[in-house]
């Protein structure tokens, strides 16, 4: 890894974002609607249900942001012609994407907190977290696991402008499969297997541990297992993304497709 390139692309992404932060809106609106719907279905705006709904909404927000930002980041460069300038430099695209993903994860956190805050303002539930410090620690880890997923999505865009297809396909299923919407145990068995392979599922479970007193894991494991699984799966995804990215870099040089958008 090249720390200089990582910081530079973090900074570049931040300036770019600050110049036009409007795209945070879609990733707040839809998760928030989800939270509302959950609450009205249950017609119960007290205690665990609210927390469950708000948590789900927050995770959706982070995921929507990850998808949006990690797809946008490379398509923007392709459209702008900066993808070629980036590729021309001796820095690996992977390092540039790490920097950007860290910024995007940070915005994801802001995004989740906004969803929490808005929900709290409207429903005035006054729910409290069982373990606030643990909760934020796990929230941050979950965010990292989402960011590593984002890296994987970005590789699709390095490969080809067709990445858009991949990212729109990935958006909604993850809501369901990760257990952010409904408990994993409610899913068909086949899907449950996939859930276990996704770092965010473990993150969502771990967050619930920290949020609810006496939570019974939907994964049937302990909090520690959740955290270990999340971290290991995220690292695995990062390694896969790294290899795909290097392959993608070679593929575009031989296809001559760096200028397409």
């Amino acid at each position: 890894m090249n720390p200089r390139a990582v910081t530079a692309s973090f900074k570049q992404q931040a300036i770019q974002f600050m110049a036009d932060p409007q795209w945070i809106i879609p990733s707040i609106v839809s998760p928030f609607l989800f939270t509302m719907v959950m609450l009205y279905i249950h017609q119960d705006v007290t205690g665990p249900v609210v927390l469950q709904a708000v948590l789900g909404g927050g995770v959706l927000g982070m995921w929507a942001n990850t998808i949006f930002a990690s797809s946008f980041t490379i398509s923007y460069d392709r459209m702008n012609g900066t993808f070629e300038s980036m590729l021309l430099s001796p820095t690996k695209i992977f390092d540039i994407l790490i920097g950007r993903s860290i910024w995007n994860a940070f915005i994801g956190l802001v995004n989740a907190l906004l969803v929490f805050a808005i929900a709290e303002m409207i429903f005035r539930t006054g729910v409290s977290l069982a373990n606030p410090i643990g909760f934020f620690f796990i929230l941050a880890l979950t965010l990292m696991s989402l960011a590593s997923f984002g890296m994987l999505i970005s590789t699709a865009f390095v490969f080809s402008r067709m990445g858009r297809f991949f990212s729109s396909v990935a958006e909604y299923p993850i809501y369901v499969i990760s257990g952010a919407l409904v408990p994993i145990s409610a899913l068909p068995v086949g899907l449950q297997h996939i859930s276990y392979l996704l770092a965010p599922s473990w993150g969502v479970d771990a967050m619930r541990y920290a949020a609810f007193e006496g939570y019974g894991s939907m994964m049937g494991t302990s909090l520690l297992t959740d955290i270990i699984m999340m971290v290991m799966l995220s690292i695995a995804v990062l390694i896969i993304a790294y290899f795909i990215m290097n392959k993608a870099e070679r593929a575009i040089l031989s296809a001559g497709s760096a200028t397409r958008y």
Binding site: K11, Q12, I15, Q16, L88
Partner: protein, 324 residues
């Protein structure tokens, strides 16, 4: 075959795109071209739209893998993946047009970003960027977002970006396209300055005067093949010489003109405002026929004689059309 005298050696360099329709043949964009570029020279790649200039530059600058053939850049084989990053540190590319910059970043921020991508030490960056900004005369506009730049300013910040790693070889793909004469001239003198400083420059352009003014050597491509190679003079003299002779006389030489036309020469006489007569004759081998023709006009009181040598554009057009 590493030869330190040459910055670039291309042999049988070929690139095919596609096939986009399975089973069909791909498009041969560059078709077995060979040339050598000496260190420190300005080397032109000329040719009509679609001739393969950009494709050649991309292959030489590690941005496109050749289909076959050899290309050694700074002694390194561009096809060897292990050389790519080492090579990218030592070369840079500017493409004409407005793409390739971060519009929401200022000119300075763009340069800072790329300086980091090229691993320029932080302590050297400030001075380097300042000197590049002053080289391209963008000191005042440095902190304005690139989206507010004019086309000429964008192109100049591009050039500054390309110099961030002090490249040994600079590839310029139509660097003055769409720019006004004054800015173009500024860019041409910058190119000369870089070349004087030892940078090898590969330049593509559609402007013949630009090639003539700047290039030590050049190739002319047509449909992916080399149809002309050498210095400007080599190229001019590689076509069968076409010159035109202009004779101004006091009296009307129409009879002679008519007889020349009967010999299948391209000759026209016109009457000038000052009551003199201008006759234009296009000759294929001027040196031989020149004096003989002048003699024919002597009885009509010659007041002046001029010869127009073929221009690079004449040679270019002839070569490119022969290549079809």
């Amino acid at each position: 075959m590493t030869c330190p005298e040459y910055a670039i050696v291309a042999e049988g360099l070929t690139r095919t795109y596609g096939p986009f329709i399975p089973g069909s043949a791909g498009k041969v964009a560059v078709d077995g071209i060979s040339f050598k570029v000496r260190k420190g020279e300005i080397y032109g790649i000329l040719g009509p739209n679609g001739a393969g200039k950009t494709t050649t530059i991309k292959m030489l600058s590690t941005m496109l893998t050749p289909t076959s053939g050899l290309a050694e850049v700074l002694g390194m084989d561009v096809r060897d993946g292990k050389n790519i990053r080492a090579l990218r540190k030592r070369i840079n590319v500017v493409s004409g047009g407005e793409r390739g910059l971060y519009y929401r970043l200022s000119g300075r921020q763009n340069l800072e970003f790329f300086a980091d991508l090229y691993g320029i030490p932080k302590k050297d960056q400030k001075a380097l960027i300042e000197s590049l900004l002053s080289l391209v005369e963008l000191i005042e506009a440095a902190d304005i977002k690139v989206e507010n730049y004019s086309r000429g300013m964008k192109q100049r910040i591009h050039i500054a970006r390309s110099l961030i790693n002090s490249p040994e070889i600079l590839f310029l793909d139509e660097p003055t396209i769409g720019l006004d004469p004054e800015i173009s001239r500024g860019i041409r003198s910058l190119i000369k300055k870089l070349s004087d400083g030892g940078t090898t420059v590969i330049l593509t352009t559609h402007y013949m005067f630009e090639a003539e003014e700047l290039c030590d050597n050049m190739v002319i491509l047509s449909r992916g093949r080399i149809v002309g190679k050498g210095t400007v003079d080599d190229i001019k003299s590689s076509i069968s010489r076409v010159s035109s002779l202009k004779i101004i006389t006091e009296e009307d030489p129409s009879d002679v003109t008519a007889s020349l036309c009967r010999e299948n020469l391209d000759a026209v006489t016109s009457r000038l405002l000052n009551e003199r007569y201008l006759t234009k004759i296009t000759l294929n081998n001027a040196d031989r026929a020149f004096t003989a023709i002048e003699d024919l006009f002597r009885p009509y009181a010659i007041s002046s004689v001029g010869v127009e040598e073929p221009t690079l554009e004449d040679a270019y057009l002839t070569l490119v059309n022969e290549g079809l």
